[in-house]
Symmetry: C2
Subunit: 426 residues, 2 copies
């Protein structure tokens, strides 16, 4: 049933102009009179309304939740409360990372509406990567975002009471979490009406994924971790479609899936989307080898993301360590310090193993599940697309079942190269 809420109404350009005109800060940013503002609804996305508003002095972006999934319609209700969680996560991410998120100008809980910085000339990263654009600052920025948002909301940085308060604050975002639980961890491994794949080319893969007991146990273990491990505040949907950037500036948007979950889920999302893009390049290059250089940039950046993230997370832990986990009082002398440092490295190794597993789940779901990536969808030649997808599937299966085969990000990158080289037919 579609949610109704006293005072809620989906905005149109006309109603939005009047509404924004009543918010002094926003009106000043835009300049001039509301009648002169140019307002366009541009939401190309799956869930929400998105407006771009421009006035003589500047622009803003406005995101409003609808009480259903926009892509599907009123038959798939989705609570307006997701705007509440998105606003809460955005505020926290802004506090922790500064300029790596869009600035929030105004939030209206009743309208489930956020007015925020208009990011120009930023584009969605996924589109840039399909076009073969390099982003030299990205690894630096995203690793900072991940390290700071994950570290500072974990038990390593928070006292237990503050951590539990965050868990309670995000515990209501269940409808969004359920989308992840179903579409990532369940549906691709069973017959589900919303599944789709490049057919008939990948029919045998889809059938095999539904029959593979080891794989289904592995993805179920990951799902259990997603359900029960409240390690840190996650963005929850940290793929390259949730990043707007230029070569000089990176912003992470759309944290409406935020909740307290396992860190490897966010890290895995970034890694997965880089691997999917890597495999997709064969479908985008104009002549064989035309994207060889870009492919290597993708893998080099993927490696930097993890290496930088690991180093930054560890540096924060070494310099702060104010949380209730691994209390400083237990490791004060030189020997204790050295033993704790060894454990920090082991902690990051365990997180890497989680990351590999979650990355694998995110790769599979984009090929056999409901929501696909344009990296692969835009490859018009279905045989070619199927070959790219088969490579990603083959690698992801082994990542999920045998994460120990990928002891380092370098080993993972090399496995991607090897898979591309050796798998020549879907």
């Amino acid at each position: 049933m579609i949610e109704t809420r006293e005072g809620y109404a989906p905005q149109s350009p006309a109603t939005l102009a009047a509404y924004l005109g009543g918010i002094p800060r926003v009106a000043a940013l835009l300049g001039g009179a509301p009648s002169g503002w140019n307002i366009a609804e541009v939401g190309d996305g799956n869930l929400n309304l998105v407006f771009i508003v421009k006035g003589p002095a500047g622009g803003v972006a406005v995101k409003q939740a609808l009480p259903y999934v926009r892509l599907v319609g009123e038959s798939w209700p989705l609570p307006l409360s997701r705007a509440h969680y998105e606003h809460m996560a955005l505020s926290e991410q802004a506090r922790l990372t500064g300029r790596l998120t869009p600035e929030i100008y105004h939030y209206d809980e009743t309208l489930a509406l956020i007015v925020m910085e208009l990011l120009e000339p930023h584009i969605i990263m996924r589109r840039g990567m399909i076009a073969g654009i390099e982003y030299p600052k990205f690894a630096e920025d995203i690793s900072t975002f991940m390290a700071r948002t994950l570290y500072f909301t974990s038990d390593l940085a928070l006292t237990a009471d503050k951590k539990k308060a965050m868990i309670a604050a995000f515990a209501g975002n269940t409808a969004l979490c359920k989308i992840t639980e179903d579409l990532i961890f369940t549906d691709p491994y069973r017959v589900a009406p919303l599944n789709r794949w490049t057919s008939p080319q990948l029919d045998a893969y889809a059938a095999e994924w539904r029959d593979d007991g080891d794989l289904k146990v592995a993805v179920s273990r990951l799902k259990l971790k997603f359900l029960s491990s409240a390690e840190a505040m996650l963005h929850g949907d940290l793929h390259t479609g949730s990043i707007m950037l230029t070569p000089a500036d990176t912003r992470v948007i759309d944290p409406e899936f935020a909740f307290m979950g396992p860190m490897g889920f966010d890290a895995g999302a970034v890694i997965a989307n880089f691997l999917l893009n890597y495999f997709s390049q064969d479908g985008h290059e104009k002549e064989p080898g035309g994207r060889d250089g870009y492919r290597e940039w993708v893998l080099a950046t993927l490696q930097q993301i993890w290496v930088f993230f690991r180093a930054k997370f560890l540096a924060l832990w070494r310099g702060d360590g104010m949380g209730d986990a691994y209390p400083a009082a237990l490791f004060e002398d030189a020997e204790g310090q050295s033993r704790l440092e060894q454990e920090r490295q082991a902690y990051m190794d365990r997180l890497w193993t989680d990351t590999v597993g979650f990355a694998a789940a995110k790769m599979t779901r984009r090929i056999l599940g409901l929501a696909h990536n344009i990296d692969l969808e835009w490859i018009e030649d279905k045989d070619r697309r199927a070959l790219c997808e088969a490579r990603a599937l083959i690698l992801s299966r082994d990542m999920m079942v045998n994460p120990g085969n990928y002891a380092s990000v370098e080993a993972l990158a090399e496995a991607a190269r090897r898979t591309r080289r050796n798998v020549l037919n879907y």
Copy 2:
């Protein structure tokens, strides 16, 4: 600062008689007039007021939280809200286990007061075990309590939204969780003013425990799991002092430490207290070997507890499996069923490993930390007590650092026998 709350006042026998007289159900249970009721404050415990009230027709027990730790006084405030969490957990445990908890007759949130069934002629299990009393039904009962309370509040039985609602409902019980975090997982491994141990006999052990990097890392990993793994609703303090019983009837009381945490913590508490009692028997037997038979009953019961628990938990999972974890839809055919069964066994193996670790932490804290067990404290000969304690410490250290050495509960029981046989001096 001591909490004050509108309408709250600690009860005395006189005020309590008037109060209970105003609750028709309780007044009827007691019979006669309030002036004829016999009311005694009997709280021998650490935290609360406990009254036993008897009338011509029957009796009730009344437990009221104080805004501080009774044992220590007003210098250690503790929120009244713990009665709220205790009542919530008791209600849930009663729903899930029927007659394995005391019946609740009345709950007063403002007074932080619970009126419940008077358990007669039940005694605290710890006292019975010190006296060498066998409880032939106990393994059956406690394994049912553990299996049903843990299974039905886990992701194996609950949908994610219901599970997250429970997490949020218990998230505020942070003051009680902090007691566990400090006294079990931290203080025994550092110089802390509240620590105490049998001195000077165990001084070297206490020093070694503070210096042992492997041990401090191991206990910190357990603490991290306690902080971040919301696997199921825990009793939170499931030692033999939280059990009242007769040979024919078992009741679990006092779940004020309840929260959503790692299952191994509850299972480990039971195991730990059986091991501590096992090692304490050398201090209670009247002549050498006088408790040989009882010692073997303790170990046989310990083994039954885990074996029965494992079988019952698995049976519930096989017969129910309605939760969001390991969804049935993924394992429908014969091969899937067989693979899922293999994973169920692996799940219980992992839970056993957690249990061994948490049991070890609970053993150490009772010997080197603030709160000791009368099983050991009542041994008057300090040398003898220190020997019993040293054996428990030596075993607990290896359990925590090398849980893989204890692949089964039989192996753990055998290690206890071996430790007792081989460690002849503290």
